[in-house]
Symmetry: C2
Subunit: 210 residues, 2 copies
DNA sequence: GCTAGGCAGTAACAATGGTTACATAGTATT
DNA sequence: AATACTATGTAACCATTGTTACTGCCTAGC
């Protein structure tokens, strides 16, 4: 675990901070000393991602949802923290997209480290900044792009995150992430197939040349 | 100036920090000791808003734009800072919506204060958090609402920010902010008028009951 | 093999929003 | 007052997306 942790955060954090993080990790009950999330598990609080990917969604009152962005190795997401802290029901949901290794940072450690370590402060600021930029990218695609472009972007990103050239999803699931209907996605996917960019199969899509 | 500053930030910052901010303010060339922005002026860097309002826009490569949110008294926006710092052309534009009093925080003071003052750190974190939430609200309305609802939200927010019940804008300007066309806005505004919710005039709109 | 349930293909239609084009009405300049 | 410019009203049309409905197909469970 220590190797993995250093590989993900060693170039960012001071030695002393890394040691504290290891301690927090080893407090956890899981033998390896940190948390393993299964696909589909919900994340609450502030995670330090060591491997895998987490999908962050926006949800509105009517149950409509929308994919915001993915978290990857070396990322964190203060939003999942601050959302849970503030009473405001700032509805954000974070779900493990793949099997994921991470360390959950306790709230009081978070405060402590912010005062104590410059590298931690910078990390948190950078994290906020990166999340903001990703939100803006998402917002761009919704505001400025048509659905065909959004779909292509989605497929590319999903393939990148999962390090595969197949998307293991039904059309309905894609429709949820992009907040549209299954029929619309099927229609557009069929077009992409006719253009030779993808290959459609039951429950998965093979990317040829997007 | 000192009174105004304390009114905006006194309950947030430690006394010592307030004094440092006053010093930064009094370094500025303007007699009153801090910056006055005229309507339409561009903001670069990190502002501490004392009065007035700043409009923050997203811009894409084709010159399309979209209103993100407003900054008000007591707000700051680290995005306008970090955007200017990082070379990445994360296109955000901040413009004074009304005449505005503010203090521009120099970058090295920013760093210094973050290390030195807990209240400053909390302020910055809160700021990031608030900006994220406002971005999410904006994103919600784009993703989940139809144009008529977005327009109503826009009119309400604009009235609130300007503390008036008239919107001093042409249809074209509203269309830019919502990233749609003038004809669409005229159409919807006319509907709202027929419903008795607003009154249309040349160059301004009077809000009756939204 | 048979059946039920989930998944995908497709057609027909509706709704929303974007585009073009032109008319009319204020406003400013001379 | 004549002119030019800007803002608004409106109609007609198109493109994109959303909706409904029905089809066939695959797969799991019997």
């Amino acid at each position: 675990m220590i190797q993995e942790l250093k590989a993900s955060y060693g170039h960012i954090f001071e030695e002393a901070l890394i040691n504290e993080i290891i301690q927090v990790g080893t407090y956890k009950e899981i033998p390896e000393g940190y948390k393993l999330m299964d696909i589909g598990e919900y994340i609450k609080g502030m995670p330090l991602l060591i491997s895998g990917a987490i999908k962050v969604l926006r949800e509105d009152n009517d149950g409509d949802e929308l994919l915001l962005y993915y978290l990857e190795q070396g990322d964190t997401c203060s939003m999942t923290l601050t959302c849970c802290m503030s009473d405001a029901k700032s509805e954000i949901r974070a779900i493990a997209e793949t099997d994921t290794k991470l360390i959950m940072v306790p709230v009081q450690k978070m405060e402590e480290w912010t005062a104590k370590y410059k590298s931690w402060r910078n990390f948190i600021f950078n994290s906020y900044h990166n999340r903001l930029n990703e939100l803006l990218t998402t917002l761009d695609s919704i505001a400025f792009d048509k659905m065909d472009m959004r779909l292509i972007g989605y497929l590319k990103e999903k393939a990148r995150i999962n390090k595969e050239d197949t998307i293991q999803n039904t059309h309905q699931e894609i429709a949820y992430d992009l907040h549209t209907s299954r029929v619309v996605i099927s229609r557009l996917l069929k077009k992409l197939e006719q253009m030779g960019k993808i290959e459609l199969h039951r429950n998965y899509i093979k990317i040829l040349d997007l």
